[in-house]
């Protein structure tokens, strides 16, 4: 437990370092800052994985048994999704806005870290369940990134319209790049969430004898909204701004599903 906590703390420090150098790179645009940020992020990601691995060994499963572990896993997925997008789009200037999500969730996870590993629940075990939860968390992480990217897109559009072109305008990527990054993160989220939901339905049928849970309806509505985001530009000729607003709306629904639905509507998707 202590090793896991120490590794988590180290990962947090490395993420903070990556964030500091990302901000410095945004302000001064120096290649060396970008390289250091990338190295710290990669190292942080690896150390964070080690922390999760230690936590997982104690509970003999993917670390999602308690809220703290789930938040840590979520933070790791955010950092990973950002890393994938950075590689895919060769674009680092969004780092200062995306990394804080991973830092926040890992920080809260460390603060709420339980003294002892939660006892294993035999009902919530097995590969099917593990994949369901892990992929769902990856989906949430990707949608969180898309939420931040949608806002950056709107900021850039607003700056172009109002002609107030400050430092942020010159440093943030072009609209088409932001739009592609937004689509990539939504794409990751939609695929992960769809597979997670399908596995969840199979698991539910096997364990509960029914597919139905109110959470399912909200999740499919969420997937529907994000699929619309992917297709609206091409088939409905929606502007990027409109797609970004829809994406933000989708994220609000996700938060609603994660909080109100989990707490008051469903009995089965509650974190203890």
């Amino acid at each position: 437990m202590v090793i896991s906590l120490l590794l988590g703390g180290t990962a947090l420090l490395l993420y903070l370092g990556a964030e500091a150098f990302s901000i410095a790179n945004l302000r001064k645009e120096k290649a060396v800052f970008g390289l250091v940020a990338k190295a710290l992020l990669t190292l942080g990601f690896a150390v964070h994985f080690a922390a999760l691995e230690f936590g997982g060994r104690l509970t003999h499963t993917v670390p999602y048994r308690d809220l703290s572990a789930s938040m840590s896993l979520f933070a790791w997925m955010v950092a990973g999704s950002y890393g994938i997008m950075r590689l895919r789009h060769r674009e680092a200037s969004t780092g200062p806005f995306l990394l804080p999500v991973a830092i926040l969730f890992l920080g809260v996870s460390l603060l709420t870290h339980p003294a002892q590993a939660p006892a294993a629940d035999p009902k919530l075990s097995g590969a099917l369940f593990a994949f369901h939860v892990t992929l769902a968390i990856l989906g949430y992480a990707a949608f969180t990134l898309s939420f931040v990217l949608a806002q950056l897109y709107l900021i850039q559009v607003r700056q172009l319209h109002t002609r107030k072109l400050g430092l942020l305008f010159s440093r943030l990527p072009a609209l088409d790049v932001l739009s592609r990054m937004h689509h990539t993160s939504i794409g990751i989220g939609v695929v992960a969430m769809t597979v997670a939901s399908t596995l969840g339905l199979i698991w539910a049928k096997q364990n509960w004898g029914t597919y139905w849970d109110p959470k399912v309806a909200f999740t499919f509505l969420l997937i529907g909204i994000y699929v619309l985001c992917l297709l609206a530009g091409r088939f409905l000729r929606w502007s990027g701004k409109r797609v970004a607003l829809l994406s933000i709306g989708g994220y609000m629904l996700m938060l609603f599903s994660f909080t109100i639905v989990n707490l008051f509507i469903t009995q089965e998707h509650v974190f203890h």
Partner: protein
Amino acid sequence: MSRPDESPLLLVGWDFRQTPVELRERLAFSPESIEAAVLRMREEGLLAEGVIVSTCNRSEVYGVRGPAALEGDPLLALTGFVSEFHGVPRHEIEGVGYRHMGADAVRHLFRVTAGLESLALGEHQIIGQVREAFRFASSAGLTRTVLNRLFQKALEAGKRVRNETGLNSKPISIPGVAIELAQKIYEDLAPRRFLILGAGETSSIFYDLLVARGATNIEVVNRTLEKAQALCQRAGRAYPWEDLAARLPKADVVVSATSATEPVITREDVRRAVSQRRGQPLFFLDLGIPRNVDPKVADLDNAFLYAVDDLQEIAERNRQERQREVVPAMAILEEELEDFLGWFGSLAVVPTITALRRKFEAIREAEFDRSLEKLNHLSPGDREKIRLMAQHMVRALLRRPTEALKEADDPTRRLERAEAAQYLFDLDIDPKD
């Protein structure tokens, strides 16, 4: 470092600030005439080495004083040479240029290379022009130790200013601002579709700019089709004015520069075009005066409109930002200047001779003391004789190197010999000597 009036580093120049364009044209050096001029200045003993930087905005001669210029004012002699070489009366060029020696000449070159002396403050083409001038002089054998080091240092300084300050980070010309804005909508402009309205001078400037950036999808719409066809000979296609409505939805960036007195693109035209574009934004650069594009277009979702006034305002803001970067740029240049002058000062002959003597005397004393320890049986008189012999030997050994350091007929050769002596005898130079 020598006193300013003795410094071997020289500069005479004429730039856009003080010299009218007609005179600058007459003072310009072609690549062939650069070699001929420096070779002649060397033959006449005016310069030991030389580099000429000649662009549309400046003609500058950098050099190291030659043996014939050791007496009198070497800068006046250089000015006289340039006047004679170009056949321009001396009185016409004496009052309009600048003449520097020593640190001032070095500082000027550093400022030029960093773009601080350019018409468009901070422009970076000049660093390429200085590099080219140096490369040319170097390959023609016109430079040696001093100018090689000086120009390498100037290029390093220019590069540092470019990388470490915001002097060149934002464009200050209208076309530069327009391209930067377009790149904030579409990062890679090469595959984008451009629609140019009008085929006049402004359209032609933008057409050239786009072609230079690799754009091939350029469509030119003009009331006189022949003019549009004449414009897009290298790339793109010409369309008659009637096709404007059909071409508009297909464009990503529209550059409008017609002489129409009323807007030729209305809000309704753009609304219709945008609705056919599968969510892709449409960017308008309205360079017409009066405006060619209805200003209400700016209110539309997914359409962005910038007119000449907007571009001018941004260019002016960028200009002010560049101005603020002059102070940090100068700090970098002063650092590099100090570094260069430190090296240059260390090559002075007198400190080298002093260091050489100090080194030999130290060796003599050490060896003398070591030997005497083993020769206890010698009388004080014999010891004194040996000491004097060692002293004479050192003086005799140093006589020729000292003469060689002093006698060199041009400053560069003296500096080269000093550098060689420092290297061969591993000398520690104290510039105060």
